[in-house]
Amino acid sequence: MPGLNFDNYQRNQYLASKGFSQAKATSTGTTIVGCKFQNGVVIAADTRATAGDIVADKNCEKLHRLAPRIWCAGAGTAADTEMVTQLIASNLELHSLYENRKPRVITAMTLLKQHLFKYQGHLGAYLIVAGTDPTGAHLTSVQAHGSTDVGEYLSLGSGSLAAMAVLETNWKPDMTREEAMQLCSDAILLGIWNDLGSGSNVDLCVMEIGKDANLYRNYMTPNVRIAKERSYKFARGTTAVLQTSVRDLLDVEETVIPFGQKDSDAMEIEA
């Protein structure tokens, strides 16, 4: 059956009533930003994923493709941003095929907000949607409850305050592509250094009018792990083994079956 399945919801409510607390999902305690420039729009994100206070993934991807020239940055519950983004990307492609038109940012944003509003904020997806389409370059954001904003520069996530500090000081109208990239990566960097929920690298995506979108995966890597000073390799045989079983996957067996042999039934399917 299509759609979400609520079977376990009751069980978990029951379990919760018995004193079992809820497990924690991976969340992207995140810094994401977006900024328009003369001929397009840039979005950027950090690459840290957290589960509670543990860093679950040091180099995750928070920039999602909705359409070839419409990209979005996601903050909030990691699974929700990923799934909602994949769903809307599919619907957007079907829609553009049906209408025989290039997908538009406003369409993507509307599909997202209507889906998220339907779930009344229970899908924890906070997105910056940006891209270029036949009507120009656009930059919008969608909140989990379904509200949306349009702006020249935006930031979202736990590091949004740090990022906004940079955007508010350094933003100016009609920036060049390079200036916008610089501004966005600076904003993310401030999130990486000053927000505990954000860290590792900067991912960046530039969407310029009339051109293919450019994804700069790991545009900046200010947190490269230094090489280990010594190897912790163990001598073979360190670990005591009680039992070993081997399953050979390449077990080639050759049998020659000559033609016309009277008694040979080897080629029969049912011997």
Binding site: L4, N5, F6, D7, N8, Y9, Q10, R11, N12, L15, K18, G19, F20, S21, Q22, A23, A25, T26, A49, A51, I54, A56, D57, C60, T77, A78, A79, D80, E82, M83, H122, L123, K228, S231, Y232, K233, F234, A235, R236, G237, T238, T239, A240, V241, L242, Q243, T244, S245, V246, R247, D248, L249, L250
Partner: protein
């Protein structure tokens, strides 16, 4: 009582080596502090070189291993080939996200080799199916904090199968010894191009 994913206890880990992967789990099943079984494997095979580690609520571990057995068998009938690790990871993800608002209390990890290219693949998930693609190692279970520490320090890239076995074994062994809910035996699978080696480790029994 604490959360459902730490009633039974258990730990699992997967690592990438040179043209090989390894996946391992402990064998304990408990009821809070009481050890019930020392023979509860948390690694399951779906296809020639596709493996799944499942930690968390034991009931859900069994349920999901059966669900995936069904789904991969149907996949095999439809496609006339066994499932690739990448494909299986997406199957796990969507199966878990289907229950977004009433999740299974598990922490799955996938490890395997692509059947065509023999390229190593590992990944992990949270309980609602968010995939964590890692290039080095993935941990899960009640000893995950300890495993993060062990793997982060012991792991190095491009280990030969024999060395990968030692590294993953020592990482798991020493992690579960610092977790009251994990241990009681360990099992390690090392998957290479043409063979799968399963080893049962000698461990502490406390």
């Amino acid at each position: 009582m604490s959360d459902p994913s730490s009633i039974n206890g258990g730990a699992a880990v997967a690592m990438v080596g040179k043209d090989c992967v390894a996946i391992a789990s402990d064998l304990r099943l408990g009821n809070q502090s009481l050890g019930v079984s020392n023979n509860f494997e948390k690694v399951f095979q779906f296809g020639d070189k596709t493996f799944l580690g499942l930690t968390g609520l034991a009931s859900d571990v069994t349920t999901l291993s059966q669900v995936f057995r069904l789904k991969t068998n149907l996949y095999k009938l439809r496609e006339e080939r066994s499932i690739e690790p990448q494909t299986f990871a997406n199957l796990v993800s969507s199966t878990l996200y289907e229950k977004r608002f009433g999740p299974y209390f598990i922490g799955p990890i996938v490890a395997g080799l692509d059947s065509k290219t023999d390229k190593p693949f590992i990944c992990g998930f949270d309980l609602i199916g968010c995939i964590d693609f890692a290039k080095d190692f993935i941990v899960s279970g009640t000893a995950s904090d300890q495993l993060y520490g062990m793997c982060e320090s012991l792991y190095e890239p491009n280990l030969e199968p024999e060395d990968l076995f030692e590294t993953i074994s020592q990482a798991l062994l020493n992690a579960v010894d610092r977790d009251a809910l994990s241990g009681w035996g360990c099992v390690v699978y090392v998957i290479t191009k043409d063979r799968v080696v399963k080893r049962v480790l000698r461990t502490r029994q406390d």
